[in-house]
Amino acid sequence: MAASADNPTAIEVRELVKRYQKAKTNAVDGVSFQVRRGEIFGLLGPNGAGKTTTIGVLITSVVPTSGSCSVMGIDVARDPIAVKQRIAVVPQQSNLDRSLRVREILTFHAAYHSVPRREREERADKLLAELGLADRKNDKVSRFSGGMSQRLMIARALMHSPDVLFLDEPTNNLDPQSRLFLWDRIRELNQQGLTILLTTHDMDEADKLCERIAIMDYGKILVNNTSAELKKMIPGGNALEVRVRISDSAVDSALRARLQQSLAGLPGVAKAEEVEAGPAPEGPPAVTYRLYAEEARTLVGSAAQAVLATGADVHDLHLKEASLEEVFIYLTGRHLR
């Protein structure tokens, strides 16, 4: 236990395989990854990719067929009880105790984890206030909305001060406002030092929250990296889009040919293509060019100069990054949902 303090790894998964009884294929098929302490790590993939099963093994509710896992340096199979002391879980669907009132759900959870009475009372009030549930503390949860249940489950998870928090599809089926609220809370928790492993099939969520993302499909991890690095995998994924405003009389092929030529001739540009032409929704007509390059953002200055040199106006310049969705399609040939 003392040695674990120096270990920078919060979660380690080695060659994990899980095949359920009577299943024809492995739900998790040789997965390995590590999560550093204090990191938000995301498992991204479609439903049925093996994300929830992977979490299940880590939270001791699924017995692996082979491979091993440790949480905070503790082997999950060998000492599940010690793991349970360090982790907290927010499941996909509400499993809140419907016989208890909101505040009791928190205090009893803490009592199951041996948190002394005074401490659990104080912590319950603090968390209910932080998660905007203070005025519901004596209610029962049967009529709670999805967002409120999710917030209460997060509060419950934090009652015993875990080191690692598992969030299984934390904002699935929530309205946009609740999603943003939860994302803010999740970031705050992480800033306070909590290690978070979340699963999601929402690229946006993975992109906005996670430091590193492992993309899973059919029980395997296809890639595992930061969002920015993943996006670089797509050829030409990094591009500069230049929107050029041209006067009415100049909507002629001569000017457009000249623009294309000079943009393509800029040093570092692998390819320049006209992606969109015609009248802008408002104002004078415009043409958009996309410049592909290794480091597209270094082109901002030279591209603007090149446009101005032809006598046209720069309307908009922005870096076009590939989305994780495109990364997923690139890797699997399928859409995520």
Binding site: K84, P91, N95, D97, R98, E104, H109, Y112
Partner: protein, 269 residues
């Protein structure tokens, strides 16, 4: 951080779960009592008052039947305390997941459920005595020299009902609940020697042997031994009390072992 031992953490979690169940049951105590006592109330009224009043049941019949009613009520109340909640919880509510993540071996989450349901069963069984005294009036007759044995058999019966409830609660799926009542409950009620003493079944020998496979038979006979007053100075004939205690204890142990396994099978995949 690690100052507290595993044992102390586990015990604290176990006691907190018991306290949770106490709080929840305490809030619905009246409903719980009504649920447990409705059936014995009518049994006592019809068989102890109405039928004897019409001359359709022998005067002594109710003294034989009262232990059967106590046994049945105790067992059913303990069983119901586990089976239905567990079927629903494992089927879809999954409220139990939070307790499964507490730092104690998951088998103890099941044991806690059994223990608490047994407490409910003992309460339901005990409340019959004042109820019977009130309804039966002069016909109420319970011998008072076997009080400790009486309490012991009630506790064993409750543990037996609760541990069978654990097995059923982990084996039955939500969509099979109505089938459970017809295929398991009904035979259990009528082959358990609750309404007739075992010894007098000897004219239907095969049925007499058949009833020995129902643990309720031992509960009812044990309570008859501990409750029915001697007639003309002689104690009534029942199954030997030692057999009763051994059979009840064995069924508790067997059902707890089996139930812990089936429970584990449902919560760990």
């Amino acid at each position: 951080m690690q100052a507290r031992s595993r044992f102390s953490l586990g015990t604290t979690a176990f006691l907190a779960m018991l306290r949770r169940d106490l709080v929840v049951t305490g809030r619905e105590f009246i409903a719980f009592l009504l649920q447990a006592l409705m059936q014995p109330l009518f049994f006592l009224f019809i068989f102890g008052k109405v039928l004897p009043g019409m001359g359709l049941a022998a005067e002594g019949f109710v003294a034989f039947m009262l232990p059967g009613i106590v046994a049945l009520t105790t067992m059913v109340a303990s069983m119901q305390g586990v089976t239905l909640p567990l079927v629903l919880d494992l089927g879809f509510a999954r409220e139990i997941d939070d307790r499964l993540l507490a730092p104690l071996p998951i088998g103890f989450v099941a044991i806690e459920k059994v223990l608490f349901a047994a407490v409910r069963g003992v309460i339901a069984g005990a409340v019959i005595f004042p109820l019977a005294w009130w309804i039966l009036g002069a016909r109420y007759a319970v011998r008072s020299d076997h009080i400790a044995l009486l309490a012991g058999v009630i506790v064993l019966t409750a543990c037996m009902g609760a541990s069978f409830g654990l097995v059923m609660g982990t084996v039955i799926k939500p969509e099979q609940i109505s089938m459970m009542f017809t295929l398991i409950f009904t035979p259990l009620l009528f082959t358990g020697c609750t309404y007739y003493p075992w010894g007098q079944l000897n004219n239907i020998r095969w049925f007499q042997i058949f009833t020995l496979f129902n643990p309720l038979t031992y509960a009812a006979e044990g309570l008859r031994y501990a409750m029915v007053p001697p007639i003309n100075g002689r104690s009534i004939a029942t199954l030997p009390i030692v057999w009763v205690l051994v059979a009840l204890a064995a069924s508790v142990v067997g059902a707890v072992i089996l139930g812990s396994r089936t429970f584990r099978g449902r919560v760990v995949s």
